[in-house]
Symmetry: C2
Subunit: 457 residues, 2 copies
């Protein structure tokens, strides 16, 4: 696998051109009107999987956005790696904060700036180009399958159904994913845990129109005030979530693992300076690393209602809405969380208003077994190219389908991600350092190598 560096050097301009072609397709899954964009992105990937050396690839219709499946089977006695990624991206808003257009990639200071530059078009492309190298130089040590979806950012509902119906097609020994971050390029790390997600939108409805707040204020329950009460009532002043039953299934992490976790060098001062806050804040009794990795959380992702423009309009609004999501940890179950969330809101039932709840998406948490062959192979591959063993981290983000792969297909995932915190995924000016991109392409073939080697032991 040592020739990979030379291969990258020779082909890197083309790699970027190919990636940019994908980035230029604004495949925002959250917007139902984006049918053309979603199918274009899927077709683009299908073509690239073929040109990278797969035997076949196809765009498969699902109950939602299409998935792309591809494979190169060389020997049924060899192990099979299923590469997972997603071609959908987060919405680019707020538009005005982007320094360059979100869907026109631009390289500034050795970084690619664009929506999807990291999450997950950039990271997925490292997988494709590492695969291309192994095929081109005849070094592929195993069978490879690709499953690439368009709903990662909205809960992977279609892919979960696809897994239930296509167990044979997707059968593999391990799943390989590049969609997570490292602490830094100098301090490589490996994500062994992901939090789950339960995401809801609630709408509080009061009067049938905006009322004059002078004529009605004081006698009509105000949907914005009610919504604030509801949100505020979901946490206490120690940062604990107060929805009854919320912590019931939370698996307490033992002292030993908590100590190990807290050994990860988290430079809190640099981090708070980077994101511009005076201090961290969260659930009492836990460190920042613990709050981010092993504890569930509840955040309002958006809120709106009434008069939002310039000036002073004296209305009592007809409606108020909020998007509220919870990050989950083992063994919380999104369906159970949905039930207790709805039951909680029903129990409060404030007077004079009605509440509507929409479940937007969910996925359970996931923890990878540290001692397993696949995690050990990932550690070796990172050590090979970064020169250091990676630190284990329990990541904060969710990849909704990872837990489903485990539950439905019985296949464990390796989260071999090369993103950085500063990549600003989901934010304006998302970016991906060229160095990360090339380092990822360099590391992935080594994972194939070590994993296949260990498989035969």
């Amino acid at each position: 696998m040592d020739s990979i560096r030379g291969y990258i050097e020779k082909n890197k301009e083309r790699f970027l051109e190919e990636l940019f072609g994908l980035i230029r397709i604004p495949s925002v899954s959250a917007d139902k009107r984006n049918r053309e964009e979603m199918y274009s992105a899927a077709e683009y990937l299908k073509e690239n999987i073929i040109s990278s050396g797969a035997d076949k690839a196809e765009v498969v219709k699902t109950s939602g956005w299409p998935v792309v499946f591809g494979e190169k089977l060389i020997d049924s006695k060899l192990p099979t790696i299923l590469v997972y990624g997603h071609y959908d991206v987060q919405p680019p808003d707020p538009h005005e904060e982007w320094k360059s257009l979100p869907f026109e990639p631009e390289i500034r200071e050795e970084k690619i700036y664009a929506r999807g530059a990291d999450d997950d078009k950039g990271q997925l492309f490292m997988q494709l180009k590492a695969f291309e190298y192994m095929v081109a130089e005849n070094k592929l040590p195993c069978n490879v399958k690709f499953i690439i979806e368009g709903e990662e950012e909205i809960g992977s509902a279609a892919l979960k159904k696809f897994c239930l119906r296509n167990g044979q097609l997707l059968s593999a020994d391990v799943i390989l994913v590049s969609d997570t971050t490292m602490l830094s390029l100098d301090t490589p790390s490996l994500t062994i845990g992901l939090r789950g997600l339960a995401y809801f939108e609630i709408t509080v409805t009061g009067p049938n129109r905006d009322l004059h707040s002078g004529l009605y204020g004081g006698a009509v329950n105000n949907p914005c005030n009610v919504l604030a009460d509801i949100i505020s009532g979901m946490k206490d002043d120690k940062g604990k979530i107060t929805i009854p039953g919320f912590y019931d299934s939370v698996k307490e992490v033992d002292k030993g693992e908590r100590e190990l976790l807290n050994k990860v060098p988290l430079d809190e001062d640099t981090l708070i300076t980077n994101i511009g806050i005076p201090e961290f804040y969260g659930e009492e009794g836990y460190t920042t690393i613990e709050r981010l990795g092993i504890r569930p959380s509840l955040d309002v992702n958006g809120i709106w209602g009434g008069f939002m423009e310039e000036g002073a309009k004296t209305i009592l609004p007809a409606n108020a809405s909020a998007k509220i999501s919870m990050r989950l940890v083992p063994d919380q179950d999104t369906e159970k969380i949905e039930k207790i969330f709805k039951a909680h809101l029903e129990n409060i039932s404030p007077p004079g208003v009605s509440i509507r709840i929409k479940t937007l998406h969910g996925g359970n948490a996931y923890v990878a077994p540290w001692e397993s062959k696949e995690i050990q192979a990932a550690i070796s591959s990172i050590e090979k190219t970064f020169g250091k063993k990676p630190l284990p981290i329990r990541g904060g983000g969710s990849i909704p389908v990872i837990a489903a792969f485990d539950e439905v297909l019985g296949i464990k995932a390796v989260l071999l991600g090369f993103g950085l915190e500063t990549d600003a995924i989901h934010s304006p000016n998302e970016n991906f350092p060229l160095q990360s991109f090339y380092k990822g392409i360099e590391t992935i073939p080594w994972f194939y190598h070590f994993y296949s080697e260990s498989y035969n032991l």
Copy 2:
């Protein structure tokens, strides 16, 4: 004054045409870009005051939007009535809920539909046309002055300053205002009290950009959640406002007046059906009428932050904002309320975020003396044209400058308004029944008559 009915009948088409010309100018004061519209509306009124019979009228520049001043002085021994009104209107949003264009008046089912149809262009025009009648038929029993402003909906800051500097110009015996509502055309009422207003916008700022809620959720204080806590913390579960010191200056209304107030026939069932809520809700220990008239209130007028579009974006927002206003009662003072509001927010100071407060507008509450000549003249004029004595009500809305007229100029105001609750002022599909419009024009000359008569006693 008995010829007024015939005069209305003969001229009503022209009256409507003239009013529609004013309504077509979208003079929304909240938007600073509306300079041209605001000056056009002021000029339009100046011309109409002249053509209605005034000796002079002028558009006067102020520190904000211009005021229109006009007068007809016939005899210094006669009383002087100062007519007040405003040419500015509330923003028309949400646009999509209007059945016809907000600034293109349309008559449907004997009602004028347009922004400003009632508040206050329609009601102000009744004053102008009643004045026109008295001049045209040589029946004016007193001197008349007009002061019409363009900032009523945003707090009347410029007019308050104008009053301080132009006491002589505005000197009068009574102020006459048509900018309030009646219970119904069958149950005439007279507003003798107005609540005041203190209006703020607060912005909670956390990180310097929207963060990925999976990567940071649980360890970074979320501005939307903090804002919900702040709002929720301003009221207890009995509907009492909990900002320290908020009720300190509230003048408790005595048992006798509370009993009188509660005699007003408020058909709560019809009202909640009209506005589409299952029940009224407010401060414990008070009736709906009391909550609307003699008790202060606190309402969120608008709230926004984070992701407000379709779908599920998993961010921890950088900012969250809310417009929060309080209706005040005697003897609460807007400046003191501003101080305790700011002190309260400073005292909470949630960790990890900063809070910015903008004061948008304010005005003190006002109560007219029931036994005074002017109120008695208003009662007589309503009785004359409606056939019934009006019921006294303490209104919920604010007219910011009314308290200032009393405090600065020492002139009491008569709130001779002809709006209805169903006029939907400040809401989409604002309207004004033609019957209200004509009834107002008919009643106003009688006020002039009775007031001037009592003045000489």
